[in-house]
């Protein structure tokens, strides 16, 4: 009986004392801002998942997402310290780096480029060789990656790109649909399925098939942050990649989570986007976020060849594998 009382007393009193005992004061969560590449949509689902599933808070991070859009320079945002991390295409990061911006890629989200060149199915234009003497919608400030890939591809195939007339890109594909424009740049994660949705049959010419390998959406941060607080960087990447792993592991859930953020509250649109981006994120060869040096050097080479960079630099400074290696324990899975 006495034992029982003792136990009861212990059970009842311990929480009381526990409340009084000095506890390590929890460190306030580190505030982190992520500059998104575009407005909220499925493209960033992995980050939403990390947020919603508490992976960030488990890493003691309080993450804020800042939308991107027309006129917002993601890289500048990070460089200026308005944001701690940013998403941008790998080629932009490399270009900025070459121009002296102190930013470094830390993980790749889209391992394959979503860039695709489409022609009408009945046009007979099925491969780059058929592009000669045709018009292609490639112009536009935001489409550096598209032009880079186009010209790199043509060059690789020994095709004279000057024989392709380039015109501005139309969001609505109006001229393309009418056959006034033969070739249009498109994103597999965007424009392409808008076309398909309208019942327009197209041929898809993927630069990937012609040896153009480019990383697209890539997570980067400032050199300062890496130097000052590598732990925070590692924590952020670890939590984000976990979110992305969950996303590809369960895309349906990821779409549902995305819907809490998305500008366009059209779940079918978001799930189409999700469906389209999955093979870009996960290719069956490397783990999510993993980067290969040969891709980076290939990109560097392309940028040089296309004379987009004024001067050369060590491409290996554009990215770091330190965090990814730490997270994956050195293996690509």
């Amino acid at each position: 009986m006495r034992t029982v009382n003792l136990i009861m007393a212990t059970i009842l009193l311990v929480p009381l004392f526990a409340g009084c005992m000095p506890q390590p004061v929890p460190k306030p969560a580190d505030r982190v801002t992520l500059q998104l590449k575009w407005v909220h949509q499925a493209q960033f689902a992995g980050f939403y998942m990390a947020q919603e599933k508490g992976y960030y808070s488990r890493e003691n991070l309080a993450v804020t997402f800042t939308e991107g859009g027309q006129g917002i320079d993601n890289i500048e945002q990070v460089v200026s310290g308005k944001a701690d991390f940013g998403i941008s295409s790998a080629d932009s990061i490399m270009l900025s780096r070459s121009e002296g911006s102190p930013v470094t890629a830390v993980a790749v989200i889209y391992k394959r480029s979503p860039v695709v060149f489409v022609t009408l199915a009945n046009s007979g234009i099925k491969r780059p060789a058929d592009f000669l003497d045709r018009t292609a919608a490639l112009e536009g400030t935001a489409f550096v990656d598209a032009r880079l890939q186009f010209f790199s591809m043509m060059e690789k195939l020994g095709l004279d790109h000057t024989r392709v007339r380039t015109v501005p890109y139309e969001y609505d594909y109006a001229s393309f649909k009418k056959g006034e424009i033969d070739i249009s740049y498109s994103y597999t994660t965007g424009g392409l399925f808008r076309l398909l949705q309208q019942g327009i049959e197209v041929n898809r010419i993927l630069p990937e098939d012609y040896g153009i390998h480019m990383y697209s959406d890539t997570l980067f941060t400032s050199d300062t942050l890496i130097a000052d607080n590598p732990d925070l960087v590692a924590r952020f990447i670890r939590a984000s990649l976990k979110g992305w792993q969950d996303t590809i592991g369960n895309p349906d859930e990821a779409v549902r989570v995305t819907m809490q953020y998305a500008r366009e509250k059209d779940s079918s649109l978001q799930s189409k986007m999700m469906e389209a981006q999955l093979p870009l994120i996960y290719d069956g060869e490397d783990g999510v976020g993993w980067m290969r040096s040969e891709i980076w050097s290939g990109m560097y080479q392309m940028l040089l060849n296309q004379k987009l960079m004024d001067k050369g630099f060590d491409p290996a400074t554009a990215y770091t594998m330190n965090f990814i290696n730490e997270i994956y324990g050195g293996s690509n899975r």
């Binding site: 898809r204 012609y210 040896g211 999955l278 996960y282 290719d283």
Partner: protein, 996 residues
């Protein structure tokens, strides 16, 4: 908890516990073996499918390599790589390669697409999918990079062009010099792989086998059409463990959250794991069915057990309840109640004993009541005279006054001077004849009612009195005197006529205490009843007709004559109306009534009205009748029993003795009645009995529920001075209030038994003593004899050795004979010692394995068995309760006896055992010389031998065997014919049947 509940619970427990244990074990056993089977099955599916998968991939590699080493493929590929695509040579090679080599390969459906790559830049030179695919670069693909070096299979990956999971095999194409010409590659048709995985083994409907790659992605769909291959990751326990490069099995939730049993296996070549799972529910379905059956069985058995329990409990409790109820009924005074229990078990016997006790008690009680009432009656006579307020006289048979009360003195003024005087002196001269007449009438009729006399007081005053008198009788009914009651009617006589009627009515009503009062209007014939007449006679209120005829009709035909006569006489002569009769109820049964009343008359003396009262005495009547019957029975029983039955009051005075006492003791009942306990019992027995009473009676007095039931053996004196032993059983008989009234004894003559027992005990002591002495003698004698004998024999031998040269041949021979005789005697003494030791030195009995006994015996008889080439066989032998060493000795003696007397044949001995009711009968059968029937007993006697000296031995073995058997409480005997072999039989009781 009552018996019923206890027994029921016990039955349920007894049935449920073993069932639960057995059931649990069966269930657990079944579950484990099912689980093991399932796991084994899953593991083997994985192994088989992995092998299938590997061989599928391997076959694909071989097929592609064989295609790649075709000389024509080499030369065509070489042309495609090096020649101008526009040249006719190129076209020819292109067409040839496509149509003759690549396209036919697709027919088998193993490959979806085959293509040739330029080894320098990874460009697609030719593709079975058409020109659209040509010109694409595969320079960064592992299958290109590896395919340049060796035949290579690239693990499944998501191919963005065709938007599907692809697995590609590649092989280098080399020319004769070993120069790399091209890379031949083919996308495998993964439907075949999926088919391998989806193909069911038939274990169960829920079985699923699928592949998961190292990134946790499904490689094949677990279910056809699920569409998760390369599109969804999976993070189940099985996958997690397998991806850490482990093989194993486990219980976990699958990708859909369903609990499954899974086997997983890491396939290093493909960097994937193969998972096979079945739903736990389904896998354990059979065991769930088993569990349900077990539970149902449990329920049924528990129900049966409970029913059985209730049934058995009822068989015990219902007689007990009957017994309790009976005890209660009897306890409340119904001595006629009998407990009806048919069973012959302990409870039945208890009930019988109870009934017997009740009967006895009732008889005794009745006797007591009768005795008591007699005492009261005689005392009443004497004392009541004083109590009665009216003057009372008692007379003897001559009419002389023997006694009178104070009221007489008060009324008449006389004192003791009238004792012994005749009543005639109390009346005037003229009344004397009436007085004498009245005395005569009393003596003749027995009573005198309401005679008016005029008495003369001492002071000479005349006082009118009404006299009532009766004849007094003793217990035998002989008249002993008379008694008269007087009533001073001076005042009554003076009372008015009107008062007379009401007073009379009141008197009768008051006198009749209770019951029914009736009023008969004689001229009108109407009979009015006051009281519950209808109820008593079983009619509805007011139903019984209020007429004199109805009353007469209801009276029993045997009684109506008498009661009418009394009534007639009363009406005519004014005699008393009083009588008993039976009156019929509506339901036909009869009640006993006592009726009395008196008529009121008009001035002419004619009766006009009669008032009376009836009392219902049925219960009393019935009690009297049954009392009479049971007393008769009891008397018959007690008078004719050979046992003595006696009854003592609580002062230990004998109040009843059964007539058998006369036969046993020689005293007449009267003589014996007058003897005190001290006089009738021997001093020892008196002490026994007194001790019992002293010890027990306080309890008997104090506790109304305490019953002294005790049996003593007592020795009584007889009239002739001898004594007889009786076994006396005492019990206490209590009155209704629980006070002990009598001690009842039943004494059985056990003199014969006593003397027999005493004789037997004496004999036994004698026998034991002599037996003990004999054994001691035998032991001591044989032990002490050995020593001098050894001396004789050694000195004889010494004599022989020392004087060998001096002794002649004859002397040596004599010494040898003497030495032989001595050693023979020594053997006999040893035998005797052994014989005596059977009883004196025996070991405690224990459970002995019969087989082991025989093994030991055969071991110790090894030499003689070998010499005689004896064949010893035996049946399986039981465990024997006995002295192990002696049992060995017993078998050894019997078997060696059988071997020894084998005659000319090779000895064959067979031992067998047979289980009897409480013992084992062993037999040892041989084929030896046999024994004539006349020696059957003799052979067991010590030192008796039938054979001459040619057979060794001293004739002790069988005697010892017999003694051992007897020590074990068994018998030994022999069946044999000379020349036919012999069979020895002996019995050994089983444990519990032994004496020791």
């Amino acid at each position: 908890m009552n018996f019923l509940t206890k027994l029921t619970l016990l039955f349920i427990l007894l049935s449920i516990i073993p069932l639960a244990v057995v059931g649990y074990l069966a269930f657990e056993n079944g579950r484990q073996s099912l689980e093991q089977n399932t796991l084994n099955h899953l593991i083997s599916i994985n192994i088989l499918k992995e092998a299938e998968l590997n061989s599928w991939v391997g076959d694909s590699e071989i097929m592609l390599r064989q295609l790649g080493i075709r000389p024509l493929v080499q030369s065509d590929a070489d042309i495609l790589v090096s020649a101008d695509p526009a040249s006719p040579e190129y076209r020819l090679a292109y067409e040839n390669l496509l149509k003759s080599h690549l396209a036919p390969m697709l027919e088998e459906n193993r490959f979806n697409e085959l293509f040739v790559l330029n080894p320098s830049d990874g460009r697609v030179l030719i593709c079975t999918e058409g020109v659209g695919h040509e010109g694409k670069y595969r320079d960064s693909e592992p299958y290109f990079l590896e395919g340049k070096k060796r035949t290579y299979a690239q693990n499944p990956y998501y191919s963005i062009g065709p938007d599907k999971v692809t697995m590609t095999v590649s092989t280098p194409v080399r020319d004769r010099q070993g120069r790399l010409v091209a890379v031949l590659a083919g996308h495998l048709n993964l439907n075949q792989m999926a088919d391998i995985m989806l193909r069911r083994s038939g274990l169960s409907a829920s079985e699923e086998t699928y592949l998961v790659n190292k990134f946790n992605f499904f490689v094949t769909d677990p279910k056809a059409g699920l569409g998760v291959a390369m599109r969804k990751s999976i993070h189940t326990d099985g996958v997690t463990v397998a991806l850490a490069h482990n093989d194993g099995v486990g219980f976990y939730d699958n990708y859909a959250g369903t609990p499954v049993i899974g086997a997983y296996r890491w396939i290093p070549e493909l960097e994937m794991c193969i998972i096979t799972e079945v739903n736990q529910d389904e896998a354990f379905d059979p065991i769930v069915a088993l569990r349900n059956i077990l539970l149902a069985m449990g329920l049924i058995i528990a129900t049966l057990a409970a029913t059985g329990g209730v049934f058995f409990a009822r068989t015990i409790t219902s007689p007990l309840l009957k017994l309790a109820k009976g005890a209660d009924v009897i306890g409340r005074g119904n001595m006629d109640y009998r407990i009806e229990i048919k069973s012959r078990d302990e409870i039945g016997r208890l009930a019988d004993a109870f009934n017997t006790m009740t009967t006895s008690y009732k008889q005794v009680e009745n006797k007591r009541l009768i005795a008591e009432s007699q005492v009261v009656a005689s005392r009443t006579t004497l004392e009541m005279i004083e109590i009665i307020p009216d003057p009372v006289f008692a007379y003897d048979m001559h009419g002389r006054i023997t006694q009178f009360n104070r009221a007489v003195t008060g009324l008449l003024g006389y004192g003791q001077e009238i004792i012994g005087e005749l009543p005639t002196m109390l009346v005037t001269e003229s009344e004397v004849p009436r007085v004498l007449e009245a005395i005569k009438e009393i003596a003749e009729v027995g009573f005198l009612r309401n005679k008016e006399f005029s008495l003369k007081a001492k002071d000479g005053k005349h006082i009118p009195v009404l006299l009532n008198a009766v004849l007094r009788k003793d217990r035998e009914g002989n008249p002993v005197g008379m008694m008269a009651v007087l009533r001073d009617i001076t005042e009554i006589k003076q009372a008015s006529e009107t008062l007379q009627e009401s007073e009379e009515r009141f008197r009768v009503a008051a006198a009749s205490a209770s019951d029914l009062i009736w009023e008969w209007d004689i001229p009108g014939g109407r009979l009015e009843w006051y009281g519950r007449i209808d109820e008593i006679l079983g009619y509805r209120p007011g139903e019984f007709p209020r007429t004199i005829e109805a009353w007469e009709t209801a009276i029993h035909k045997d009684d109506i004559g008498h009661i009418n006569a009394v009534l007639e006489q009363h009406l005519k002569e004014g005699t008393k109306y009083e009588g008993e009769y039976r009156i019929q109820r509506k339901d036909g049964t009869y009640r006993y009534w006592v009726d009395h009343g008196s008529a009121l008359r008009n001035e002419a003396g004619e009766p006009v009205k009669m008032i009376g009262a009836c009392s219902d005495i049925t219960e009393r009547k019935q009690a009297e009748e049954s009392l009479q019957a049971s007393e008769t029975q009891y008397r018959l029983l007690a008078d004719h029993t050979n046992d003595m039955i006696w009854l003592m009051d609580m002062n230990l005075k004998t109040v009843y003795l059964s007539p058998s006492t006369e036969k046993i003791s020689g005293f007449t009942l009267q003589e014996r009645m007058e003897l005190t306990m001290e006089q009738s019992l021997t001093p020892e027995s008196l002490k026994l009995a007194s001790d019992l009473f002293i010890k027990e009676l306080p309890y008997v007095e104090a506790d109304p529920d305490y019953n002294l039931i005790h049996t003593l053996e007592l020795e009584y004196y007889c009239k002739d001075g001898t004594t007889r032993w009786t076994e006396d059983t005492f019990s206490v008989i209590r009155d209704n209030s629980g006070k002990p009234a009598f001690i009842l004894g039943e004494a059985r003559d056990i003199t014969e038994r006593k003397s027999n027992a005493r004789a037997l005990a004496e004999k036994t002591v004698q026998l034991e003593r002599s037996n003990e002495e004999l054994q001691r003698f035998a032991y001591v004698a044989s032990h002490d004899l050995k020593e001098p004998l050894r001396t004789i024999s050694s000195y004889l031998q010494l004599l022989e050795r020392r004087n060998k040269s001096k002794l002649d041949k004859e002397a040596v021979e004599f010494i040898d004979i003497a030495v032989n005789g001595a050693s023979r005697l020594q053997n006999m003494i040893s035998g005797l010692l052994e014989y005596s030791r059977v009883e004196t030195k025996g070991e405690q009995f224990e459970i002995v394995n019969g087989e082991s006994v025989i093994i030991q015996v055969i071991g110790s008889l090894k030499k003689s068995i070998e010499e005689s080439k004896a064949d010893i066989t035996h049946d399986p032998l039981p465990e024997i309760y006995g002295d192990r060493e002696q049992l060995v000795r017993l078998f050894q003696n019997l078997i060696s006896n059988s071997i020894r007397y084998h005659g000319k044949q090779q000895p064959r001995v067979h031992i067998s055992a047979e289980k009897k009711i409480s013992e084992y009968a062993f037999s040892i059968q041989d084929n030896g010389i046999g024994i004539a029937p006349e020696y059957k007993e003799q052979i067991f006697i010590i030192f008796q031998r039938l054979q001459g000296r040619e057979v060794p031995g001293i004739g002790l073995g069988l005697a010892v065997a017999k003694r051992i058997v007897e020590r074990h409480g068994g018998r030994i005997w022999l069946e044999s014919e000379p020349g036919q072999g012999a069979t020895f039989y002996f019995t050994i009781p089983m444990k519990g049947g032994n004496r020791q």
